[in-house]
């Protein structure tokens, strides 16, 4: 408990608490509540109907597929980047970290556009792709690329500070006792970073499944084919099919809530084993 001299008077404390709770209720709780309320407005049958509809299911499948490709690739890249950066010294290290972080400061729309410039019809590889009857833009590969780009920093940026904090001593001990490099990674490094890795993967997955702007540019919005869940929501909404839009949106809101719960559990139970927390 803080001493009276350095705590605010009771009325001020109450006022600040009320201000915060009011603001959070307005800014966070209401938007969340309105998704579920509007989704269920036309009854549970209409709600389930909107979710089970063929285009919605196709969108759900596509969202899961894209995440199932993008997230594992990001895990491999994130682990590799963290290993190289945290366990070795080399020049231009901070430049490399900046490059890994870069996608966070790029607008989602620009994140999609850059792949149109490379793989689109007027793009660098467009004519070559067309000659070989392959399609990246307005097809699944484009969605995957754009998703990897926007989620690129999540795993690496969680693992790099964590592995830097843990240093090299344990790995060096295992190696000098004769463990192979792979065994060292598997039995020494991975157990040390598993919760941090899970934390990064959790956030990476939430963003991968919810990404809108970047995939919107590369998707082409072909119903039942290149529409992910967020894009499906946009189409329903623009067709004034609000109840269905919110019903589908409630699925993603549910995913967000599950993500928040798991993330909080990790923060509460394993604070010391996540980067930059509990120290």
């Amino acid at each position: 408990m803080r001493s009276a001299a350095i705590s605010e008077p009771r009325w001020l404390r109450l006022a600040l608490i009320v201000l915060m709770l009011g603001f959070l209720a307005l800014n966070l709780l209401l938007p969340l509540a309105v998704v579920f309320a509007e989704g269920l407005r036309k009854g549970i049958a209409a709600y389930l109907g909107a979710i089970r509809e063929a285009d919605a299911l196709a969108a759900l499948r596509l969202t899961l597929t894209v995440a199932a490709i993008a997230v594992p690739l990001n895990i491999i890249i994130g682990l590799a980047a963290a290993w190289a950066i945290a366990k070795f010294d080399f020049r231009f290290k901070s430049l490399l970290i900046t490059l890994i972080d870069l996608p966070f400061s790029v607008s989602p729309v620009v994140s999609g556009l850059i792949y149109v410039l490379v793989f689109g019809l007027q793009g660098w590889l467009g004519p070559w792709l067309q000659a070989h009857d392959a399609q990246v833009i307005f097809a699944v590969p484009g969605l995957v690329l754009a998703t990897i780009f926007v989620t690129f920093p999540f795993v690496a940026r969680e693992l790099i500070p964590l592995m830097e904090e843990q240093g090299r001593d344990e790995e060096e001990a295992a190696l000098s006792l004769g463990a192979s490099g792979l065994a060292t990674f598997w039995h020494v490094t991975l157990p040390n970073i598993r919760w941090g890795l899970l934390y990064g993967v959790l956030l990476c997955n939430a963003r991968a499944m919810g990404e809108f702007g970047a995939v919107s540019v590369v998707s082409g919005h072909i119903r039942g084919k290149t529409n992910t869940l967020p894009l499906h929501i946009e189409i329903l909404y623009n067709e004034y099919n609000f109840a269905a839009a919110f019903a589908v949106a409630s699925l993603l809101a549910g995913l967000a809530l599950v993500t928040l719960v798991l993330k909080s559990l990790l923060e509460w139970r394993f604070a010391g084993q996540l980067a930059g927390r509990g120290h």
Partner: protein, 309 residues
């Protein structure tokens, strides 16, 4: 050492060859040996992991991003200006940057209050409230966009009470600010929180002992200490808000010259098959974003030095 390397390489190769080509031996040792004064680590795998990282950074980030600048550099000044500096684009930048600044300012106040209460006061359910602060990170932007519109549209939950007073939020620049406040809040709270928690009570006690009022202590002792973090949080929120798309377009109304944000203008150009125009606007936005990023990094470095000093 080489033996370990090869074992790791062999172990990983089966899983990774589909993703990245194996680095050549020149790649493996070329980078590592560039600094001969450093004692070599016995840890293996530098070549492999560095190879994967450089490959991914190049193919996913660097080459595609450079396409924007290479394409923009290939335009004549007049071509570039025709879209990127048109009246419509200038109004869009003005809205994107203006609304982002307004949202960052609002979040400075509400974010600071939120962080303050979370760090310093006893409150039932504080952990849950704290977890909820991260909702904007987890909620897909399109969902946030339609939810905020449902709240603030003239017939919405909140909008219907404001409409009789003549206040419209949805489909105006005010709606854009509301969406950007939603998106930016966790940046400010999560940046300020740890600094506030680290700030021991002793300096404040010293100030109080020397006769400072609570407000004086806050203004003269606490605020200077958390100021850099608060600024950093606002800058992060601002940077995110400038490029934000999904949560804004539903509530903005998207009227050219009035409520059209810059990222949307890129989409509009693409829909009109004006890839060059879209690229010109994107290049303009990227340059501004990277400049921002540089400022944020400098500010964070300055902050770290202050804290460790």
């Amino acid at each position: 050492m080489t033996i370990y390397m090869n074992e790791v390489a062999a172990g990983f190769a089966s899983r990774i060859t589909a993703v990245a080509p194996m680095p050549t031996s020149r790649q493996v040792w070329g980078v590592a040996s560039s600094n001969p004064s450093r004692p070599r680590s016995i840890i293996p795998g530098f070549g492999l992991t560095m190879g994967i990282t450089l490959f991914a950074v190049s193919v996913i980030v660097l080459i595609p991003l450079s396409a924007v600048f290479i394409k923009a550099a290939g335009m004549t000044g007049a071509q570039f200006a025709a879209t990127a500096l048109s009246r419509r684009a200038l109004d869009a930048y003005k809205l994107s940057f203006g609304a982002a600044a307004a949202a960052a300012a609002l979040n400075a106040v509400f974010g600071l209050v939120t962080a303050w209460v979370l760090v310093r006061y006893e409150l039932p359910g504080k952990r849950i409230i704290s977890a909820l602060v991260d909702l904007p990170f987890a909620l897909p932007t399109a969902v946030a966009g339609i939810a905020l519109t449902a709240l603030y549209a003239p017939n919405g939950w909140i909008g219907r009470w404001l409409a009789p007073q003549g206040i419209t939020i949805a489909y105006t620049p005010l709606g854009v600010v509301i969406a950007l406040v939603f998106v930016g809040l966790p940046f400010v709270v999560r940046t300020v929180e740890p600094v506030l928690a680290d700030l021991g009570g002793d300096v404040e006690e010293a100030a109080a002992t020397l006769g400072a009022s609570r407000f004086q202590t806050f203004r003269r002792v606490v605020l200077p200490a958390i100021g850099p973090a608060l600024l950093t949080g606002c800058a992060l929120a601002f940077a995110r808000a400038v490029g934000e798309y999904g949560s804004v377009i539903f509530i903005a109304g998207n009227m050219p010259f009035k409520s059209e944000i810059a990222p949307l203008l890129i989409i509009v150009q693409l829909e009109q098959y004006n890839v060059a125009g879209a690229t010109a606007i994107a290049a303009t936005m990227l340059v501004i974003s990277f400049a921002l990023l540089l400022v944020i990094n400098l500010a964070q470095g300055w902050q770290r030095r202050r804290r460790s000093a």
